[in-house]
Amino acid sequence: MASTPAPASAFDYAPAPESRSVVDIAPSYGLFIDGEFTEAAGGKVFKTVSPSTEEVLSEVARAGAEDVDRAVKAARKAFEKWSALPGSERAKYLFRIARIIQERSRELAVLETLDNGKPIRETRDADLPLVAAHFFYYAGWADKLDHAGYGANPRPLGVAGQVIPWNFPLLMLAWKIAPALATGNTVVLKPAETTPLSALFFADVCRQAGLPRGVVNILTGYGDAGSALVGHPDVDKVAFTGSTAVGKAIARQIAGTDKRATLELGGKGANIVFDDAPVDQAVEGIVTGIFFNQGQVCCAGSRLLVQESVHDEVLHALKRRLTTLRLGDPLDKNTDIGAINSAEQLARITALTETGEAEGAERWTAPCELPSTGYWFAPTLFTGVTQAHTVARDEIFGPVLSVLTFRTPDEAVAKANNSQYGLSAGIWTEKGSRILAVANKLRAGVVWANTFNKFDPTSPFGGYKESGYGREGGRHGLEAYLDV
């Protein structure tokens, strides 16, 4: 069934959709400032749509500079009391938030899938458990900061301005808010304009947890609101996850101020498969590396470096595996590949893949039928790619894998490092000494061995080069919110 479409199987799985009625979506939402939902000062609103159906889900307030100022003032005011609380008291709130997230995880998983387009399998089995785990993990640190390795009584920075992307809306919120609150900071967070709903749901979770007013403020809006937040003179710390272009703009914007910053930016992760790799598991790892969340992952293993001697074998196994991927309704529990987050993103992916073809890389597309509405892109491979091709250099941020070959471990390392990015890498080999030797030479924040895209709150995450600076997660993630 490699090239011709397979006949309808007798064992076609019947649809198994998760009910969307488990979550209530209001027709409109305001900004969450100082514990209250309020309209934007300018009265502006925008719509958020479901990427799989293009259905309008809700209308949310569009924050402007005036709203940013109000939110930062609220956070500043709340900071006095919040930072003065004993760590064990802050921990109680964080544990409570974590438990509420667990209790309401089905609602949140459905909401995230509707707003983002990723499959319910991922929101249910990956995003939500990790979100809760991050709050639990940093709740545990809140009363142990004296023992984090930064000396006695390390102090919080103040007000954190946080801007997060649309690929993991709730998980990125957790990565940002949990360590900030644990260390005694207060936050103003701006979710991406295409995925505001789970952050607004989180505002409700904060109220349910009885979190003091102003400790968490959520401003929905566009880049102008993000820029106003980052540039606000009373913001002490900027945390951003998103594209390298915006990251650079932020770095320029805050240069010369005393704001601290962590930037988690783009990537072009190398996934290196040696000739002695466990082939079947490597294929699974390649699939997880680039087709998880439709490839819209900054640490995606989007460059497959495969040893020449096993290239044909690995590619054959990979293509065979990709023909079994199920693309479609993200709310169906059997869906592996959901929708691309927005029309703009789909256009970007399409343009970059056209460049790949024009430059002579060979394109192969998995035989998936694409739904007629919504934003979809079938899993795609480029073979015959070299370092000189655009698809080997630029981050595509979609389900597109570029396949390159190498002959020796040194060549693999040289090619893996020959990138303006350095966020993640993977090594596949049965030889333990090779894992250690190669991992030491890779310029990447995370190196996975015989696995890919595995996350854990205890493990620091961050990049080299244009993938940004600073670390989130683990004990290292505390440092970014402490005056040390």
């Binding site: 064992f11 019947a14 198994a16 598991q281 015989n450």
Partner: protein, 328 residues
């Protein structure tokens, strides 16, 4: 059913391909080199994949189809020291009419008995289309001289068994005497005549996934028609992970040789939910060509009643209970 399919990418066959397969069984060292040259198995990754496939949600028409398919794949088994002709005849009757209240219920694939019961089973199943499988070769330990094992097989075949389930010499395998294991399988296969040969690895005793992959290839090279996880007599029997691994092996073997081999997980599969998870593994690993009782079997006895109760639930909308299925 297609019995063979051409390799879609012959280039992958060079290293471990059809041409070299005949050579690798020439000596113990050649066989060892070949088996140890197979790609390794990462245990964490294998189990994660098996678990992920276990989360497929199978509902309505797909579930009805899967339940009937699973029933038709069962080797209804009794392997007790206390087996009597009466017990075997009762089992045979159940294999032919699993649910006396619903004659649309498919028959099981086979009835599986010890060799001394094969004649009774053959008589009871005459004309039904249900096969008789017999566990020969000093089952379940396999600790007997080769001529004793071969005599055991001859006995079962003479009694009319359609299928022979043999155990491999795990001791020889674990001590690296692969050629001995290979030659035993070849000898048994010869003795089988027209009967199909299922080779049981007892994966729980082989212990590592690398060993299970090597045993799978060894069995296929030696002429197994089926490769089977286990006897059902040890602590660890069929698991989603070891079955997934064996499905990968038969898939790869067919791509390289064009020869299709069946897979039979045995022992410990008791519920419809578990059985459906195994069918998902078949569907998404080896492919739909294996979704047929010629190529996939369940070695199970208690599984059948749970499938029947689920089947009744689908047709009536209500759960019945253990008294609505037969105890045989």
């Amino acid at each position: 059913m297609p019995t063979t399919a051409p390799s879609s990418e012959p280039s992958t066959a060079s290293a471990r391909g059809a041409g070299s397969l005949a050579d690798v069984t020439g000596s113990d060292s050649a066989l060892r080199r070949f088996l140890h040259g197979l790609p390794g198995v990462d245990a964490v990754g294998l189990e994660a994949r098996a678990a992920a496939l276990g989360t497929r949600s199978i509902k309505t028409t797909a579930k009805a189809y899967a339940i009937d398919l699973a029933i038709s794949m069962i080797d209804l088994t009794t392997l007790e020291g206390a087996d009597t002709p009466g017990k075997v005849r009762a089992l045979a009757a159940k294999a032919v009419h699993p649910d006396p209240t619903d004659r649309t219920t498919p028959r099981t694939a086979a009835v599986c008995v010890y060799p001394d019961m094969a004649r009774t089973a053959v008589a009871a199943l005459a004309g039904s289309g249900v096969k008789v499988a017999s566990v020969a070769t000093a089952f379940p330990a396999g600790r007997a001289a080769l001529d004793v094992k071969l005599a055991d097989v001859r006995d079962a075949v003479a009694a009319g068994a359609d299928e022979i389930d043999m155990v491999i010499d795990r001791g020889a395998f674990l001590s690296g005497r692969y050629l001995k294991v290979y030659e035993e399988i070849v000898a048994v296969k010869t003795e089988c005549g027209p009967a199909r040969l299922k080779v049981i690895f007892e994966t729980g005793e082989l212990s590592t996934y690398d060993n299970i992959r090597r045993a799978s290839w060894l069995g296929m090279l030696a002429g197994a028609d089926f490769i089977k996880t286990s006897t059902g007599k040890v602590a660890t029997n069929a698991t989603p992970a070891n079955t997934l691994l064996m499905l990968e092996a038969v898939r790869d073997y067919r791509e390289q040789t064009g020869v299709q081999i069946g897979v039979k997980p045995a022992g410990g599969i008791r519920t419809s939910k578990d059985a459906i998870k195994f069918l998902v593994l078949v569907n998404e690993t080896a492919g739909e060509d294996w979704l047929d009782n010629r190529w996939f079997r369940f070695g199970a006895s208690s599984l059948l009643n749970d499938l029947l109760m689920q089947r009744q639930k689908l047709s009536t909308g209500r759960y019945s209970g253990p008294d609505y299925v037969t105890v045989d």
